[in-house]
């Protein structure tokens, strides 16, 4: 099916739905690299005008990637709930934007709608939303999940404490995790990206984090972000695995590039549930995504990167996760060139994830070859807090010297608490006070690095300081 718009006598045509979607996407380098972006701002607006007139039902009739050849498309089709879709079934993409902004779209209505939405629908409406729309709509859609801490409650912001070390040194990881906890970071998860995918290292890291958690009595979860097949093996050996992690993308071929498919994710989910560490009704899966990963794997099917990202959320949502985050600025300038593109993509991803019902977080981050810096991240953090993001990732001094990129700092989480009033998860908030990290008003007691009593005890895990 072809689409067209006439602007002042000039006719713009788009041969199919995926080219209409790609050309309607706000400018980003990844779509330009793929050769599917609009030629310029006028063609982009023509595509957006045509897209706004498109009935949402078209997305149920016409697949961007055929189900017969892609298990993600098949999953999206199988899981679509027509009854949930009914309230908006007669709307166009443009009218859907207006509906989302209206007072009709209150939190309960948005929650009920989620199973009726496909990734393509939310990606389409995101393309014609300005930043303020993306913030305003997402702010109406809290998604709450729970393990030892309760995440995503309105008015709160959680953090992943990311104590990476280039060689996975136990001491290096531990001291970095303590640094983050002393700054009040880690209620979403204490999560380590391992330097290798070896099973012994994976088990050593989760055992280390488990010991730290138990010594300090921290009401949080831990995770080693190794490959899901390593997690399955570790669980088989009885390792204390809190969260089961995997990077996922929006097509079967892109997921194959990550070495996974839906079947292995299901196997991992079942193994994690069987461990019985997560309370009944709670969640324990953790997924990371990011625009550009499908193109990078040459598995994008000519579909724009923002839509491919939203399709990754269909994979995540299948497994009822505790945490999902986009690593928005990590992939590099060939996909998101500058701060403007990174900021918009972060808000799009958060918006699409939330509308689809995911507990969405963002790794607010950039690399040194992107045209971005810490000030872009300052802006994105404030915008995401306004949008009600579930969690962000923080590292010491904003510098992840293992993955060689810059994320937020633990200090930035303090800023969100003290200036924006975004409290951590209630269980963690109480623990911070009891452990002496914060005072009765929730402010940091000492930023000088002195260890309160329980921390001094935990530091005896370090070499030469055995208890």
């Amino acid at each position: 099916m072809a689409f067209a718009t006439i602007i002042e006598g000039t006719r713009f045509t788009f041969p199919d739905l995926k080219s209409l979607m790609a050309k309607a996407t706000p400018e980003r380098s990844g779509d330009q690299l793929a050769g599917i972006a609009a030629d310029g701002p006028v063609e982009r607006l023509a595509a957006q005008i045509a897209l706004a007139d498109l009935p949402l039902k078209v997305f149920l009739a016409e697949e961007l990637i055929p189900s017969e050849e892609d298990e993600v498309s098949d999953l999206i089709a199988r899981r679509h709930d027509r009854a949930a879709f009914a309230p908006i079934s007669s709307l166009t993409v443009g009218a859907f934007r207006e509906w989302l902004l209206s007072t009709t779209a209150e939190p309960a209505a948005l929650a009920a709608l989620a199973p009726g939405l496909t990734p393509e629908m939310v990606a389409a409406v995101a393309k014609i939303c300005r930043l303020q729309d993306l913030v305003a709509i997402a702010a109406k859609r809290p998604v709450v999940t729970r393990f030892r801490s309760t995440l995503g409650l309105p008015g709160r912001l959680s953090t992943r404490n990311q104590p990476n070390h280039p060689t996975d040194s136990s001491e290096g990881i531990l001291v970095s995790a303590l640094d983050g906890l002393l700054m009040g970071s880690g209620d979403a998860v204490i999560g380590v990206n391992p330097a290798t995918d070896s099973l012994p290292d994976y088990i050593r890291i989760v055992e280390l984090l488990e010991t730290l958690r138990l010594r300090l009595g921290v009401p949080t979860q831990h995770c080693c972000l190794g490959h899901v097949t390593v997690a399955i093996e570790a669980m088989g050996r009885g390792a204390p695995v809190d969260l089961v992690f995997q990077s996922v993308a929006g097509s079967q071929k892109a997921n194959a590039g990550f070495g996974v498919d839906l079947a292995v994710l299901r196997e991992a989910s079942e193994a994690g549930r069987a461990l019985g560490r997560c309370p009944a009704g709670g969640q324990f899966m953790y997924f990371e995504t990011g625009q550009g990963s499908a193109l990078s794997a040459e598995a994008h099917w000519g579909v724009d990167q923002q839509t491919m990202e939203a399709r990754a959320y269909a994979v995540a949502r299948e497994f009822d996760p505790l945490l999902v985050n986009t690593v928005v600025g990590f992939i590099g300038p060939e996909y998101l060139y500058n701060g403007k593109q990174i900021v918009r993509a972060g808000l799009e991803d958060h918006f699409c994830g939330k509308l689809l019902g995911l507990p969405m977080g963002v790794d607010v981050c950039y690399t040194n070859h992107a045209d971005a810096d810490g000030e872009d991240m300052d802006a994105l953090l404030v915008l995401l807090c306004a949008a009600g993001v579930n969690f962000v990732i923080t590292v010491p001094g904003a510098d992840d010297m293992m993955l060689n990129y810059q994320s937020l700092s633990h200090h930035d989480a303090v800023f969100a608490r003290e200036t924006l009033g975004r409290l951590p998860a209630p269980e963690f908030e109480a623990w911070l006070r009891e452990a002496g990290v914060t005072d009765a008003a929730g402010r940091l007691r000492s930023a000088a690095g002195e260890l309160p009593g329980p921390f001094a005890a935990a530091s005896r895990l370090l070499p030469g300081r055995a208890a």
Binding site: Q32, L33, L174, L178, G397, S409, E418, S459
Partner: protein, 251 residues
């Protein structure tokens, strides 16, 4: 036995992460904030500084190494960052320049700017010289060293194919981090030809003064080359000695 309360500052030696920075409200101490800014400025400079290929060519000649300059199809640095495909392709003029260099070599060495001209300026020539010395002692035939501006890792493929080299060694500036902006990477490919997947390459990374030393790197390159020439392959299919790292091909 009771212990005095510890400060995290006492534990800084356990990691290079920026721990125990202190805070004023939520803000960093001024010195830490400016130090972060300086590290970022250095990294940006490493990415955006053009490769001084004239200086590299001269330094190679000073080492007694024949050298030739080529470029990719990228027009400028901004395009380089947006179009990795163009950074992998050899400019037609450069293809012609390689014609006069002879063909049928055992080893070709390519120096490419990649994402850090700083790393190339500091580390590429001594690394190439150390490797060339090992190549000479091994009795292998070495092609003239090729200096490629605006090049990605895979530009070694068309260069190696033109020179009909059995293996190509690409020395390239790695994406700078805040802690180190002078890391050189090394990617070795057996039987180079355009269009090879990254899984056909073997990689060494973090070649710099405080990382993998130039001499140790050259020794590892020689051992990889010996294995490749003996087994007739490279990348994931290569059986390697313990201690030789297989890293991702990212640049």
């Amino acid at each position: 036995m009771s212990r005095a309360p510890l400060s995290l500052r006492d534990l800084r030696s356990l990691t290079q992460a920026r721990i125990a920075l202190g805070a004023h409200g939520a803000g960093l101490p001024t010195a830490a904030a400016l130090s972060f800014g300086l590290d970022h400025a250095r990294a940006r400079e490493a990415v955006w500084t053009p490769l001084d290929s004239g200086a590299i060519l001269q330094a190679l000649k000073d080492q007694g190494l024949e050298a030739v300059e080529v470029r990719s199809t990228v027009a400028d640095r901004a395009e380089y960052l947006r179009r990795p495909d163009k950074g992998r392709a050899l400019h037609p003029d450069s293809a012609a320049a390689l014609e006069g260099m002879g063909r049928g070599f055992d080893i070709a060495i390519v120096i490419a700017d990649g994402l850090s001209a700083t790393a190339v300026a500091l580390n590429a020539v001594p690394t190439a010289a150390a490797l060339a010395e090992r190549v000479r002692r091994a009795g292998w035939r070495l092609a003239p060293v090729v200096v490629a501006s605006q090049g990605r890792v895979a530009i070694g493929d068309p260069i190696g194919a033109r020179l009909e080299a059995r293996a190509v060694v690409v020395l390239i500036g790695e994406r700078p981090g805040l802690s180190a902006s002078d890391s050189l990477g090394c990617y070795i490919t057996f039987a180079p030809e355009p269009g090879l997947p990254d899984s056909r390459r073997n990689c060494l990374s973090n070649i710099r003064q405080d990382g993998l030393s130039i001499e140790a790197a050259a020794a590892q390159m020689e051992s990889l080359l010996r294995a490749m020439l003996a087994q007739g392959t490279s990348g994931v299919g290569l059986r390697r000695d313990a201690g030789v790292l297989q890293g991702p091909a990212g640049s």
